[in-house]
């Protein structure tokens, strides 16, 4: 799976899981995870949404230390390559 393919699909998942007034069209690999404003409850929905979208299994530990959306894209690309 190409990186360029991952970002738009990820954008869809994040948008659906968020209640924040964020301009999702500006989401890029440089966007920080912190700026997306997920809390302990909505992050569960994000992880679940990513699992459904990309057919992977994640736990909170996998994504806890990620700083940017780009790092998340890398993680998903690695998982896709390993599958």
């Amino acid at each position: 799976m190409e990186r360029t393919e991952i970002l738009p699909r990820l954008r869809g998942v994040l948008e659906e899981s968020s209640t924040q007034p964020i301009d999702w069209s500006r989401l890029s690999e440089e966007t920080t995870v912190e700026s997306l404003g997920f809390d302990s409850l909505s992050i569960l929905d994000v992880l679940y949404g990513i699992e459904q979208e990309f057919d992977v299994e994640l736990d909170a530990g996998d994504v806890m230390d990620l700083k940017t959306v780009g790092e998340l894209v890398t993680l998903l690309a690695e998982r896709a390559a390993a599958a």
């Binding site: 409850l41 569960l44 929905d45 992880l47």
Partner: protein, 417 residues
């Protein structure tokens, strides 16, 4: 000896607003909070809604309140309770700037339809996508006790937290429960009240078809309690949260006292799931007066359940007469539902809040749209103008589907606000 239970904090989020002076002004001026429904598009469904009126809370009030608390919107009933709770605890002087210190305070909240909005949204996802559409956060959102739990977590209240669900008696039961805990010495302070966020397409639709909602298109005539031409009630949303406190604790803290809860009575009709019983209601009123150790003649105001349905108003009038005897000839009886609609599980709390405002101001709010009193409602109804409160003691009646009845006795506190 039973301890005195004072009200040291009150937060209102109602279709008449959140500012107490503004709420009171609208009550006295006869300005209803009922208006055409805007919480969703009633035209967006395969069949029409019969009724399109409701008493809604201003969305901006809720959004501003949540923002000031640093919280996101989660669920309508929860959001309303959070903002009202913040106002109540702040007024009581129990919170200032965060972070808050943990306090051993129970949180007991009444609600009828609970997390209705979250349940509706979860069902929509389920219908669209099946089980995979159900997000992990669904459980902590749809569980009814999310309301009391989030209050407890946000304000660091470490006593018991739970919700009471008994239809339109919910918050009277919740306040009664909290009252008993403080009176008996189990708690020094309790956070209680009620919330209702029932104006989603599903729950609003459910109420549309039960035959108790008025379809009058004039907001000021939708809900006319005790009027011979009443056509039914209107649904409303809102929350009122109380801080109840023992007299000792309030005095120790130098808290401002808003009023007092002197007694509480409850009963069940044990007869019909939706039909009320005057006898059952009268028992609850008598028990409330006994609990407060006051005679009917000491009352200055009956804040009625007064739903403006055919069944309620005549039955309640009979119950008031049965319970109060000859005193029912002179004690003014009023309902707030012509202003705020029927806020279901929050109605007991919101209308108890109005009762506190009335006791503080020595005035009884009007039945603003009462034109032709129903001759079968043989009680002394307040007219379309406010009137002086003769005695600083009132009862707040709450009756619900399921036959549960809850009655609070509220009084002015000498030297209070």
């Amino acid at each position: 000896m039973a301890r005195r239970v004072l009200i040291t904090g009150l937060g209102i989020l109602s279709p008449l607003g959140a500012d107490e002076d503004e709420v009171w002004r609208r009550l006295v001026d006869g300005e209803t909070g009922i208006a055409p429904l805007t919480s969703f598009d009633t035209e967006a469904f395969p069949s029409p809604y019969k009724v399109k009126m409701a008493a809604q809370v201003d969305d901006e009030l809720v959004a501003d309140g949540l923002q000031a608390m640093g919280r996101r919107s989660m669920d309508r009933a929860l959001d309303l309770a959070m903002v009202a709770g913040d106002r109540a605890l702040r007024q009581a002087g129990l919170i200032g700037d965060a972070p808050y210190e943990p306090r051993d305070v129970p949180t007991i909240i009444g609600t009828g339809t609970g997390s209705a909005q979250s349940i509706y949204e979860a069902f929509q996802r389920f219908t669209a996508k099946g089980p995979k559409g159900l997000l992990p956060s669904t459980v902590p959102r749809v569980m009814y006790n999310a309301i009391s739990a989030n209050l407890s977590m946000h304000f660091k209240l470490t006593g018991a937290n739970y919700v009471v669900i008994s239809a339109c008696t919910s918050s009277a039961n919740a306040i009664g429960d909290a009252f008993k805990r403080v009176r008996n010495g189990e708690a020094e302070i309790a956070v209680t009240g009620g919330t209702e966020g029932c104006l989603d397409p599903f729950f609003y639709g459910v109420w549309n078809n039960i035959g108790v909602l008025s379809s009058n298109p004039d907001p000021s005539l939708v809900c006319r309690p005790f009027d011979a031409e009443r056509e039914g009630t209107a649904l409303g949303e809102g929350a009122a949260i109380f801080v109840l406190e023992s007299e000792e604790s309030a005095s120790r803290r130098g808290a401002t006292v808003r009023g007092e809860i002197l007694g509480y009575g409850e009963s069940s009709d044990a007869s019909h799931i939706t039909g009320p019983s005057a006898e059952g209601q009268a028992v609850a009123i008598r028990r409330a007066l006994d609990s407060a150790a006051v005679e009917p003649s000491a009352l200055g105001y009956v804040n009625a359940h007064g739903t403006a349905t055919r069944a309620n108003d005549t039955t309640e009038s009979t119950a008031i007469r049965l319970a109060l005897g000859a005193a029912a000839d002179t004690i003014p009886v009023g309902s707030n539902k012509s202003y705020i609609g029927h806020t279901l599980g929050a109605s007991g709390a919101l209308e108890a809040a109005v009762t506190v405002l009335a006791l503080e101001r020595n005035e009884v709010p009007p039945n603003f749209n009462l034109r032709n009193p129903d001759p079968d409602c043989r009680v002394r109804l307040v007219g379309s103008e406010a009137e002086p409160l003769e005695r600083p003691l009132a009862i707040k009646n709450s009756f619900g589907f399921g036959g549960g009845n809850g009655v609070l006795v509220l009084g002015a506190y000498p030297g209070g606000a």
